[in-house]
């Protein structure tokens, strides 16, 4: 028998007996960040591809919510900070080694981009709101000339943002469950999938809904593939990584993960979308909502499980 115990009663708040520094705030922040990235990527890419008229909801309408979603996400992040008055310190330095730092700066870049992007579309949609602001109208006109460039910059930063939400975690070598390069692509794909689901859910164009349903199905398939890959990676890793994977394969997270995330968050909506593709009658809202909930839960469970996994010594 090997018995290794802390005998001095170490009970540091939020550290012992198990790390739990991050509750719902960080997962929400990551989810919204991913979702925004997904929306802006879809919007930007399809705009660049010139599908403005075919997918008006995706390109013009959906982005309008991104500044709001980002604000909520940032607010969640802010809520999580334990030394809030010093928040501004984030923006006194850029630290390339720190995902937290470049995440903060990426958001700093995305935030104005998302506003500019949505405001140009907003004027297209509701010109009457802008009647009294001539100066705004003319500057937006100028912007509109560079929409293509703006879209490219925006897609670039959105890709970073989407990856960042995963890389923030995967940079923590100390937590074996996070310590995998798959989290970046996984969260990016999951963000895109969420964005596609939003289109399916709210777009009024049947054709747009259909196309994005298919896109979502593709994304879901990639996501499932990435998740399986994640576990296979762990299982072929070191002892600590195997332990980490075991939390999901017979350990405390097993039911929750396989039922709610894999089952109701991915496979089930995937099947529904597939059935729809095969012309079965399915209410399209259901898979979309499940995908969104699944995306949030995925982040919650990954943030939680990472904190529960540790090096053995």
């Amino acid at each position: 028998m090997i018995e290794e115990i802390i005998t001095s009663g170490r009970m540091n708040h939020e550290i012992d007996p198990q790390l739990h520094i991050w509750g719902w705030e960080i997962p929400l922040y990551l989810f919204l960040g991913g979702l925004v990235a997904g929306i802006l990527i879809l919007s930007g890419v399809f705009y660049i591809l010139g599908r403005e008229e075919r997918y008006p909801f995706t390109i013009k309408i959906l982005p309008i919510v991104t500044p709001l979603l980002l604000s909520i996400g940032l607010f969640a992040l802010f809520l999580d900070l334990s030394h809030k008055l010093y928040f501004w310190r984030l923006y006194t330095i850029i630290r390339w080694n720190s995902p937290m730092s470049w995440g903060a700066w990426t958001l700093m870049a995305i935030f104005p981009l998302s506003i500019l992007w949505s405001v140009t579309w907003l004027e297209d949609l509701k010109p009457q709101w802008f009647n009294n602001y001539k100066w705004l109208h003319s500057s937006l006109d100028l912007l509109r000339k560079y929409r293509q460039k703006l879209a490219m910059i925006m897609v670039f930063f959105s890709l970073i943002l989407g990856m960042y939400t995963g890389i923030l975690l995967s940079a923590f070598n100390a937590r074996p469950f996070w310590n995998t390069a798959i989290l970046g692509p996984l969260f990016l794909v999951s963000g895109l999938s969420g964005a596609a689901a939003l289109v399916v859910l709210f777009s009024k164009e049947t054709r747009e809904k259909k196309i994005f349903g298919r896109i979502d199905l593709l994304l879901i398939t990639i996501e499932i593939f990435l998740l399986i890959h994640l576990f296979m990676g762990f299982l072929s890793g070191t002892q600590v990584h195997i332990e980490a994977a075991k939390m999901f394969l017979g350990g405390p997270y097993t039911t929750f993960f396989w039922v709610f995330i894999m089952g109701f968050g991915l496979v089930f909506p995937g099947i529904l979308e597939f059935m729809e593709l095969r012309k079965f009658k399915v209410p399209t809202a259901i898979p979309a909502i499940l995908v969104l909930i699944g995306g949030l839960l995925l982040r919650i469970i990954i943030v939680d499980a990472g904190q529960a996994s540790r090096w053995l010594y």
Partner: protein, 747 residues
Amino acid sequence: MSESMDRRRFIKISSTFLGGLAFTAPLLSNSIGNMIVPNPESRISGLRTPTYCEVCFWKCAGWVEHDESGNIKKIIGNDEDQHSNGRFCPRGTGGVGMYNDGDRLKNPLIRTTINGKQEYREASWEEALNYIADKLKAISEKYGPDCIALLTHGSGGSYFGNLLKAIGSRNIAAPSYAQCRGPREVAFIGTFGEGIGSPERTDIRDTRCLVLIGSHIGENMHNGHVQEMSDAIDKGAQIITVDPRFSTAASKSNFWLPIKPATDMALLLAWIHEIIYNEMYDKKYVDKYTFGFDQLKEHVKDMTPEWAYGITTIKPDQIRETARAMANASPSVIIHPGRHVTWYGDDTQRLRAVAILNALLGSWGRRGGFYNPEKAYLPKYKLPEYPKSTRSWRDAFPGQFKLADLALASGICDATIPSVDDKCSFKAWIVNGTNLITTLPDQKNTLKAIQSLELLVVVDTMPMEITGYADVVLPECTYLERYDSIRVSGHRNPQIALRMPAAEPKYNSKSAWWMARELGLKMGLGAYFPFKTQEEELDWQLKNMDSSLEEMKRIGVKTFPREFDDLYIDENDNFEFNTNTGKIELYSTSFEEEGHSPLPVYTAHDEPPEGFYRLNYGRAPMHTFGRTSNNPNLADLMDENSVWVNPKVARDWDLKNNQYIWLENQDGIRSSFPIKVRVTERIRFDSVYMVHGFGHDSKKLTQAHGRGASDSELISKVLLDPIMGGTGMRGNFVTFKFKAANMEKNT
């Protein structure tokens, strides 16, 4: 329960009467001029004040460091001090918690009956002390002054002792004798004519072989011992540990002998056999200094390692190898006598075997063995003669315990319970600094004695269990808020240390010195309390020993040169021992005189019945008995005890780590509180282990109440030592229960 049993119901000291005192406090400070005077200069400039620690009885001297505004910041050791060498143990370092503990006793309390319900009422010092003085006078007139006893552990004892002797009683006992080191003292006095004392006179620092028999140094955190053992390891000393449990010390040892509990005597006798029959003893020393070698040799003739193996489960070659290791180191070898040695009732005899082994190896009075300590001489002010006392606790035990050289706390307790042919049944106790409820074994017996009292005064700093049974509770200030007697203790060099207040007493607490004196004045015994302030008294003493209070405040510790160069026995000297024969008595004539076996014999002890496990207990390094379990700093390190269970046993009972269970002993007593299971290989399969001092019942201990379980509660069977009245506590057996006693009744 009988009427009288009910008379003194346990009261959870309540603070509902707090308002009552708000106005008396300032009044008091006007009327009584000689309270502890805070030391203004130290608080402003000094930034450190000397003290010696009261968290245990090792009494390390150190410094209390203050921050800029004079608040206590931390406590560190005094480099000059031989007890601590400038390093305090965790309990001493955490001593600040005693001062800061919000649960401290704050005001004097008097038991009253309100609407048929017993309650404590806050009282002024004036009222509480008058109440006690009147009662003591009445009891003393009615039954004689020697029916008053003092049970004490700690510094204030000397002041209350003076009061008691002035009243006319000599019945002063500490639990550190019959519940602790009594058997050892009696055994060593019987062998060498001198006891071991505290701090132990063991020259561990320079030893080449240290044998620990159940002495769990490292968990037993007596500072000098821990430090010197570490030094000894550095210098390559061999450590041999005999313990059924894999103690911390065992893990540092060259040899760990995982002995079957209660069989140590057999091992000791086998060692003696080996050493004698292989002529590994110190011949010159034995010839010159000892008496009764031949009888001993004959006595142990058949006690071979093979014989001991059958009893102890220690393999013969291990016994031989360790005997050789001891002999190789001789005379720089210490078979450590231990300290808490009241285990199985034949403890004095076991310690005799330890003493004999040391004698054979010539370690007494030798470097790396036992040194000869020297104490500084502390002048005593000439007081009027104390009245003669005619009766004592001994009268209750005719013909018994004659070899006890100090009073038995348990003896006083037993003698309080009235019996037919009573010579002295006690009517009043003053209890100072000892939580008798958890300190004495057999709680039922202790409570019975308490119910027979007419007055119980408890002086304490905390609302411990014992305070709930008192008629009057007197809150003492902590050691960080008071002066006390100058510390003089035998060590390699004579040394003194000063304790002075580092802060003003919190709340309405006072020092024992002040309480004893006030009581004395009220009882018309002023002549025995000649000094108006404690500073005056200390200064008088110090000035008569080549120092002064002023100097001691500055240096804290003062070392004097030894009078003679006799730390070790001079080989050329013809040293005479203080025994009947003037020799080291391998064969004890004094034991023989009293009808005890002059040579130690092995007796078998009861074994746990099926499904039961021997209750083993001991110390955790960061706690002192039950006195620190409410200390915020130390509870932070360990806030409950656990019951150690061998994995095999855990499997049998399907016990899991950190699961809470109840323990029930052979007499059907179940622990009041559940205790966490620790499944560990460190304990034998026939016993369980827990740290003493947890499972407090007193609700006023907001941190400690109900945390862990109390070993004291489960020790209802006492194995009495016929030689000196020690209360053996290791003959109790427990089993596991999955429900609380009251829950079981309900279902």
